[in-house]
Symmetry: C2
């Protein structure tokens, strides 16, 4: 298996100043896989869905190249459910409701076909679960990327730190970086976090772009693509990570130059994601649209001596 | 006169999580002039100081190439005074006290030597005052840049809009842009504001960098230089504008390429400014330090095919 991704598959009810969508397909693994499948296949998914998860979305995933051997369908309980309301700034949100439902029975073993994965993306999950999935892939994947959230930083600090020490790339947002490092300066946070093991740290800043730090002390700054309209920010971080790892998995190598291009792909795909409710944009955006927006993003950020674009 | 700048010269008491500085020299015109003088001289200043403004700072300014004919010293009242406290994020702040003092008698006429200025920077002041200063320069300066703040957007909207319609470059922060345009999307805000007259709009976003929009629809994104420590953000926006206009005034032309480089200079000088209390860094930073940080900033933001640096 080229790339294995682990994370939730969920139903979300989302309220924004522009509208409301009820029980639409969401979850980290859904966004991650749909994003990664723009670049590479097959993508093996480790997740669990409930009785109410639409079969047609599983079919969409399979048609695009997802391997669903690692997706368990629970026979009697509903899917993980999240409801949230975005504020007018479209960056901050309140969680209105979380129902774990099937999440407590998230699979702890992965299919044999996944056990030699080259690339592993551990979406936001209990770090104990991330660890168990990670440990089942032998030999160790060439590249492991993980995400996490404030909840695990607060409740599972030792297990989380142990997992972070094992990965190549940690992808978190600015608040999480500050919480994890206990500092305000993102530059100092980066140094502290990279000292714990990862080769690279990606700090996501929503509409303010992303920072890439390497353990060797390099720093790169990536703007977000400035949109006329942000319609639904849900899944932007997962789409970013999924596109990034999908791109990496298609390149067969990890170095700084390849990673920088992967970050650009992640930013571009995330910018499409937030222009529609849920995963809709990930199902419809074309390679040409992605290439065109990538060109525009590079053009607007390479402000001195704009180089010829490849 | 090559460049004329108008704005307050003040005493500030600043509290940050790192310390407190009492009644130190501040004010928009002070930061603007000290920044611009790194690039061009003479810089004519239009401002007013009170009995308590340190003569040695005026002497510093004069030695660096400031023309002080337009600076009035009031014989009996103290200088404009501002006291503020920064929060732990070093981006948001509370104003603890504002004493206008001499500000009510800000000079309404400019010295004859300033009346043929090529470049005019209107710092944050009552737009009626900005307008009177602007009107005294004949023929119209080649480039006019203005700043403003939420207070004037709320209280002097018609006069402010009239002034905005006359300038070449408007330099404001993201909140001010949103307030001025009555919209959230910065891209839509930019279109709306540029339709009112300016050729270029600069939107400052603090530690998240700056966006440059042109009336022709171009967008450029500039990161802030990521600092280990922000010590005192006061004057960062004024330093940005001052360095930018100082650089432009030294180039003798305004086009998009020159302006992009000017923005980089503004970002770099502002990054030094916030590493020290008040104007201290502007008095001590060297051309070599500025050039080195400029190189680093370009390196970290030109993430694809890094071009040879000039």
């Amino acid at each position: 298996m080229r790339l294995v991704v682990a994370g939730t598959m969920a139903l979300d009810t989302i309220e924004t100043p522009f509208g409301r969508a009820e029980a639409i397909v969401g979850g980290a693994a859904t966004y991650i896989a749909l994003a990664a499948l723009h670049y590479v296949k097959p993508v093996g998914i480790v997740s669990i869905v409930g009785t109410d998860f639409p079969s047609e979305m599983l079919q969409h995933l399979a048609e695009r190249g997802a391997d669903l051997q690692g997706v368990v369908r629970h026979l009697s309980r509903p899917s993980f459910f999240w409801a949230g309301r975005y504020h007018a700034d479209m960056q901050t949100r309140d969680t209105l409701e979380t129902r774990l439902n099937v999440l407590e029975e998230f699979p702890e073993t992965i299919p044999p076909a996944y056990q030699q994965a080259d690339f592993l993306l551990l979406g936001n999950l209990d770090p104990r679960l991330q660890r168990r999935i990670y440990a089942q892939i032998q030999p160790r994947p060439r590249v492991v990327l993980m995400d996490t959230m404030n909840f695990w930083i607060e409740r599972r600090r030792p297990e989380l730190e142990a997992m972070i020490s094992q990965v190549d790339i940690l992808s978190i947002n600015d608040e999480e970086a500050r919480q994890l490092a206990g500092d305000y300066s993102l530059r100092r946070c980066a140094r502290s976090i990279l000292a714990r093991g990862p080769k690279y740290l990606l700090i996501k800043k929503g509409e303010n772009g992303a920072l890439l730090f390497s353990r060797e002390g390099e720093t790169y700054f990536f703007p977000a693509y400035p949109l006329e309209e942000v319609f639904d920010p849900t899944g932007a971080g997962d789409t970013f990570a999924g596109a990034l790892m999908g791109y990496l998995a298609a390149q067969d190598t990890l170095n700084l130059e390849v990673l920088k291009e992967a970050v650009v792909q992640g930013i571009v795909l995330a910018s499409f994601c937030v222009e529609r409710f849920g995963v809709e944009a990930l199902l419809t955006v074309s390679p040409e649209e992605i290439a065109e927006r990538r060109r525009a993003l590079i053009q607007m950020s390479h402000f001195i001596q704009v180089p010829a674009l490849p």
